[in-house]
């Protein structure tokens, strides 16, 4: 009985581990091979310029929300075909190193974190 229990636990653990590994690999693969929206952000003076490159859901992207350290998200519309979105003045008074998150808002109403990066403002 005890042996059976141990084998069962081991099988469950092995299954979980395999699932975790395959799942993680799938997520990584998916983000690399077929990103929803591939983008980047850079500081220019007091602005942050977000550049949209490509991805499977670029055409569905309607807005991008930019957050610095998770606070006060600033939402900007993404006009069709627009490649550069300028967040004017969002870096006013901001110094040091901060986390910047970019969330995409799509035509079906879904919201997805598209990019999280660490930017050095000074």
């Amino acid at each position: 009985m005890a042996v059976f229990l141990i084998i069962t636990i081991m099988l469950i653990l092995a299954g979980s581990l395999a699932g975790l590994l395959f799942g993680a690999t799938f997520i990584v693969d998916q983000s690399l091979d077929d990103p929803d929206v591939l983008m980047h952000a850079a500081i220019s003076g007091n602005d942050i310029i977000v550049t949209i490159y490509e991805g499977g859901r670029v055409d569905e992207l309607v807005q991008i929300s930019l957050e610095i350290e998770g606070y006060a998200p600033v939402v900007q519309d993404v006009p069709k075909g627009e490649r550069e979105i300028v967040y004017s003045g969002v870096a006013v008074q901001i110094t040091g190193t901060k986390n910047v998150g970019l969330r995409g808002i799509f035509t079906d109403g879904t919201v997805k974190l598209l990019k999280l990066l660490v930017l050095k403002f000074t």
């Binding site: 500081i43 602005d47 942050i48 050095k120 403002f121």
Partner: protein
């Protein structure tokens, strides 16, 4: 018996071939060396002599300053504020110094002008070089000059050391000053290169190279390194190390590192202090700048687009596959003069398609001829997300002449960046012009003087002096300024209307965040950077060289030269 004779015969024949082949190789190398006229040797000597004299004088003055400071501080407690001020003053008076430090008799760091938090801890960390009281007795009234080695901040250079004594005259520690040997020699090398078509390299008398315009050669020992093993180079290396002066010819690689060319050299000796001899060698292997008239330089926009293409590729295929593609000299990421370079955020080379031997090496401390720490500027820009950055670099398309380069870099993730560059031909630095080392020294001295005065007189006095055109601080052709860590301009001689305003948002036509970069550079301990900036009254953009230092955790002082 017959077999023995045969074996001896075969061995004899083999030995004959071995010995004669050596002679043939040696003869080939030496036979091809062309004789050098006495006139040429005389010209080269004439170019070298004043520079040897200059460096000798500079080192003599430097050692004298270190010695005098030590005598001023003998018997003074390390807790006395006068100690820190004296060290800061010494740093100001020696423009090529990195850090000025005190160590106790057990070689434990007591105090430093620099925040060495990343590499050294006060009261804990030990100096790697140990000197005894007997060493200082042997040195007499001279300072001891170390061999080329790692300095306290992790960079390389030489250290000038002298003993310190307590009130009773007992030996109680050392005063040590780290010297940036690149800074010491690069200015005069640029002068020589652009004025005479010569270049200098400097070696210790044990063969260790302490300066070469090609940074990859610095730190190599020419007597033992495989790079210098050809017979003529070995002969030259030994002759130079064993004799205080002379002339010699040898074969060495040209700037392509493919062809061997005859190099003629003259040398002289500098005695920088006790225990050290430097051979200053002037050589004539500066290649003529060859310009291909058909070369079309891409625009900054094309450069950016090229880098963005590589960024997208890296995001899609992953780091390993992307680096393999970037390192392929025949791959899709080569476009005319543009190629993709990639670095780790610690300065490790990840991709350089035309210099594969450098992959894996760390270039964190690599400097250009004006002292701009290239990798540190590139990484700082990438950490802002990305953008344009300027520095000087050898242009392979123009026979590796030093030219002004504009790169565009992007942070791929927290661990690495990629970028590419183009050479800017509308800058005088790309056309045999150079920043005179005296001008560079003035820039350093002015900023370090402000740093010192901020400690002695207070930052408000320094601000007043910056804005007073008659103050003793002013030097012709330099434009000092002061700024807070939040971006508020305290003083600015070039743009007085900016005083009192916040300039974090200041950008140039390439979107470079000038104030943010100045603050970032000061917070990293200070240094030099280039920028493009609108100069009053027309506000036409010109290239500038900025030097900045922190005065404390919240205020920074700097100055700039307009290039051309």
């Amino acid at each position: 018996m017959r077999h023995t004779v045969e074996i001896i015969g075969i061995i004899g024949i083999l030995l004959f071939f071995i010995f004669t082949s050596g002679c043939i190789i040696s003869a080939e190398n030496t036979a091809e060396l062309e004789p050098v006229s006495a006139e040429q040797i005389s010209d080269m000597d004439a170019a070298l002599y004043p520079l040897t004299y200059l460096i000798s004088k500079e080192m003599e003055q430097t050692c004298c300053l270190v010695w005098n400071t030590a005598r001023e501080l003998d018997g003074v407690s390390v807790d006395d504020p006068a100690v820190d001020l004296a060290l800061l003053k010494l740093k100001r008076d020696i423009p090529v110094s990195y850090e000025v430090t005190l160590f106790d008799t057990n070689d434990i760091l007591i105090t430093s002008t620099e925040d060495l938090g990343k590499t050294m801890e006060i009261g804990v960390s030990k100096a790697t070089t140990h000197y005894t009281e007997e060493d200082f007795k042997a040195a007499g009234s001279q300072c001891i000059v170390s061999g080329y080695s790692a300095l306290l901040n992790g960079d390389n250079g030489v250290t000038i050391t002298t003993a310190m004594y307590d009130r009773e005259g007992n030996y109680n520690g050392t005063l040590r000053v780290g010297i940036d040997t690149w800074d010491l020699f690069s200015g005069i090398n640029e002068y020589l290169r652009t004025s005479y078509g010569y270049t200098i390299w400097v070696t210790q008398d044990n063969g260790l190279q302490i300066y070469d315009q090609d940074t990859e050669e610095i730190g190599r020992n020419m007597l033992t390194d495989t790079l210098y093993q050809s017979s003529s180079t070995q002969y030259a290396a030994k002759t130079i190390c064993e004799n205080p002066s002379g002339h010699v010819s040898y074969f060495f690689y040209d700037t392509s590192w493919v062809n061997l060319v005859q190099t003629n050299a003259v040398w002289n000796t500098v005695y920088p202090g006790y225990g050290m001899e430097w051979r200053m060698v002037l050589s004539d292997n500066v290649p003529e700048k060859i310009i291909n008239p058909d070369t079309i330089t891409p625009t900054p926009e094309e450069l950016k687009a090229f880098v963005e293409k590589a960024y997208v590729y890296a995001q899609k295929v992953g780091k390993e596959q992307a680096l393999a593609a970037f390192n392929d000299p025949n791959g899709e990421f080569i476009d005319g003069e543009m190629y993709i370079f990639a670095y780790g955020m610690d300065g490790e080379v990840l991709s350089l398609p035309y210099q594969p031997g450098l992959v894996g090496k760390n270039r964190w401390f690599r400097e250009d001829p004006n002292g701009v720490k290239i990798m540190q500027r590139v990484i700082a820009r990438a950490q802002q997300g990305g953008g344009y950055v300027y520095y000087m670099a050898p242009n392979p398309d123009h026979n590796f002449a030093q030219e002004f380069k504009l790169s565009y870099v992007m942070q791929v993730d927290d661990s690495w960046l990629l970028g590419s560059g183009i050479y800017i031909q509308d800058n005088l630095l790309s056309h045999a012009q150079y920043t005179e080392w005296t001008e560079r020294e003035n820039l350093t001295s002015q900023v370090r003087n402000m740093q010192y005065l901020a400690k002695t007189e207070g930052i408000s006095s320094v601000v007043d002096m910056i804005m007073d055109p008659e103050s003793e601080l002013q030097i012709d052709g330099l434009y000092p300024f002061a700024v807070t860590k939040n971006g508020t301009v305290l003083a600015d001689t070039l743009n007085p209307e900016m005083v009192g305003t916040n300039q974090l948002g200041m950008t140039n036509s390439l979107g470079m965040s000038i104030t943010r970069e100045v603050i970032s550079l000061a917070q990293a301990g200070g240094g030099v950077m280039y920028c493009l900036w609108g100069i009053p009254p027309t506000n036409e953009e010109q290239y500038i060289l900025i030097y900045v230092e922190p005065t404390d955790a919240s205020t920074y002082v700097g100055s700039l030269i307009i290039l051309g």
